[in-house]
């Protein structure tokens, strides 16, 4: 049983942790999605049979994405600590955690969005270029708008994955709910805090999926 009074645990531990988790998830998902969308567009456009096939650009990007995707997150986060220090000035805290989160999140969403964009009717793209649309116009006016419902579902998926990663990042000094579960719960043998954190995470995942599904249904 917890030896701390409940309101103290909630106000001093859980709520700040929830806040920093939300911060990490929202900022890294948004930035990952933006970078991922750009990467996905480049992948789809330069792919063989794409609007502007370019073997070198496609293969290079393809391999970089694969490399970043093959690291276990915790190893990558440790491995790029020098880079994190260079950008943020420290390797501790939620701002520092954004660097590895985006390093993993961006290639992950790039692959998801690549699938979304590839699923757009090929003939529609041919038709649009046959009206004299530039490549940029095809991407902006047809490809992305048609892929939006699928992109929304994939953003939902990415958000939940990144939420999982922030919990892992908690183990190496990122703060947030993961850190609470590990330091206050696991290392302190406090089952109430540990399982309490798990329940909060479960509720968060349900909430994210619910919102994602709702938006998807509206946009479809």
């Amino acid at each position: 049983m917890s030896d701390q009074p409940w309101d103290k645990i909630i106000n001093d531990v859980m709520l700040p942790a929830l806040e920093s988790t939300a911060y990490m998830v929202i900022i890294s998902t948004v930035l990952s999605a933006v970078i991922g969308l750009v990467l996905a567009v480049v992948l789809v456009v330069t792919a063989p049979g794409g609007l502007h096939p370019n073997r070198i650009a496609y293969r290079t990007l393809d391999i970089i994405v694969n490399i970043l995707r093959s690291f276990p997150f915790i190893i990558l986060a440790v491995a790029i600590i020098p880079l994190t220090r260079l950008i943020v000035g420290t390797s501790i805290g939620e701002v520092a955690a954004l660097v590895p989160l985006i390093a993993v999140g961006a290639p992950f969403t790039a692959r998801l969005f690549e699938g979304s964009l590839k699923a757009v009717d090929h003939d529609l793209i041919v038709a649009t270029s046959s009206f004299g649309a530039s490549t940029l116009q095809v991407v902006v006016s047809v490809m992305i708008p048609e892929a939006i419902p699928s992109i929304v579902l994939n953003v939902t998926l990415a958000t939940i994955s990144i939420l999982g990663l922030t919990a892992m990042a908690g183990a190496i000094g990122a703060g947030g709910l993961g850190a609470v579960a590990i330091t206050y719960g696991y290392q302190n043998f406090d089952d109430v805090i540990m399982y309490g954190t798990v329940i909060v995470l479960v509720v968060l995942v349900q909430l994210i999926q619910l919102i994602g599904n709702l938006i998807y249904r509206r946009l479809r």
């Binding site: 041919v126 046959s130 009206f131 006016s141």
Partner: protein
């Protein structure tokens, strides 16, 4: 006008187009028929500038496609040909209005001009009451009508239909073809129909070309090609099994009738005058656009072949031995 001369194109050493010659005149309805793998889609891509070609010439409205260069000017050339696909290719999330407006928005037409044209073309294709619907609320035929309206908005000289009716039922196919013919007759836009459906060619084409193994093997008016290249068309289209059921003994002769002779009493006259008995294997009359053409296959004994051949030649009948 579209002029294709000795067009050649290969993919990785495999020739797909082996010297295609084809002319599409202003304002005609021209069918291009061929089985899958004959090179139809490659030909279309070369025509639209989507694929470079190895040699030969493709001129659309007098301009060589390979010399259009790049950038905005090259994109402007593409507007001369409007494309229509088998799968309709509409934006699923946009309304009929937005789908028809798409090409004009790409070229930054004014709002008023877009509105006027969308409404005009929606009326022409009979969808002026569906402007706020989404494609998935429409039938296949209606979706294809949206695609046709969309293709018309940039005032193309030619509309190119790539298997445009292959996904539709016969009745809807007929209504789409009627619409294309109306558009052709009212605005003089040439229509190219790439298809494997004989029905399409028969119903509206004035001219037809047969694309076989990377070459045009027959080309001309529908009557001409039907009457003079009947077996070629038959083998390509629906009559494969008809050739397979021919008797193995005696001689099989196909006699084709042009529109002026379809109702003649030729066969009975021939029997009476030559005294040669025949068995009727297969016969059909078909409506081609506005004309009726006929074709029969008869089987005669080997010993009678000579006299029948002479009789057919003397009477200037179009025939061939199968």
């Amino acid at each position: 006008m579209i002029e294709i001369r000795d067009l050649r194109k290969s993919y990785g050493g495999t020739p797909v187009l082996k010297g295609v010659d084809l002319t599409i005149h202003d304002g005609e309805i021209h069918g291009i028929i061929g089985l899958s793998g004959a090179g139809k889609s490659t030909l279309l891509k070369c025509l639209n500038g989507m694929e470079p070609y190895d040699s030969g010439s493709v001129k659309v409205e007098g301009t060589e496609v390979s010399e259009r260069g790049t950038g905005r000017q090259a994109r402007a050339f593409k507007r001369d040909i409007g494309l229509i696909f088998q799968g309709f290719s509409l934006m699923q999330r946009k309304t009929v209005y937005d789908n028809i407006a798409l090409p004009m928005r790409l070229w930054h037409y004014s709002k008023d001009e877009i509105d006027g044209k969308v409404r005009r073309y929606a009326k022409i294709v009979g969808l002026d009451d569906k402007l706020d619907s989404r494609p998935r609320e429409l039938s296949g035929g209606q979706q294809q009508r949206v695609a046709i309206a969309r293709a018309l908005t940039l005032d193309p000289k030619t509309i190119l239909c790539d298997e445009a009716t292959s996904a539709l039922d016969p009745k809807t196919t007929a209504s789409i073809l009627t619409l294309l013919r109306e558009i052709n007759e009212q605005s003089g836009i040439a229509v190219i129909l790439v298809t494997h459906q004989m029905e399409v060619v028969k119903r509206i084409c004035q001219n037809v070309s047969v694309l076989e193994d990377g070459r045009i093997t027959a080309s001309g008016s529908v009557q001409d090609v039907f009457v003079h290249h009947a077996s070629r068309l038959g083998a390509l289209l629906e009559n494969r099994e008809q050739l397979e059921t021919l008797p193995h003994t005696g001689a099989n002769i196909r006699i084709s009738y042009g529109p002026d002779h379809v109702y003649d009493t030729f066969l009975s006259t021939m029997t009476r005058q030559t005294g040669v008995p025949f068995s009727l294997i297969w016969a059909t009359t078909d409506k081609y656009r506005d004309d009726v053409l006929g074709s029969v296959i008869i089987n005669i004994a080997d010993s009678d072949t000579e006299s029948i051949r002479n009789y057919l030649n003397e009477h200037h009948v179009i025939w061939e031995e199968l």
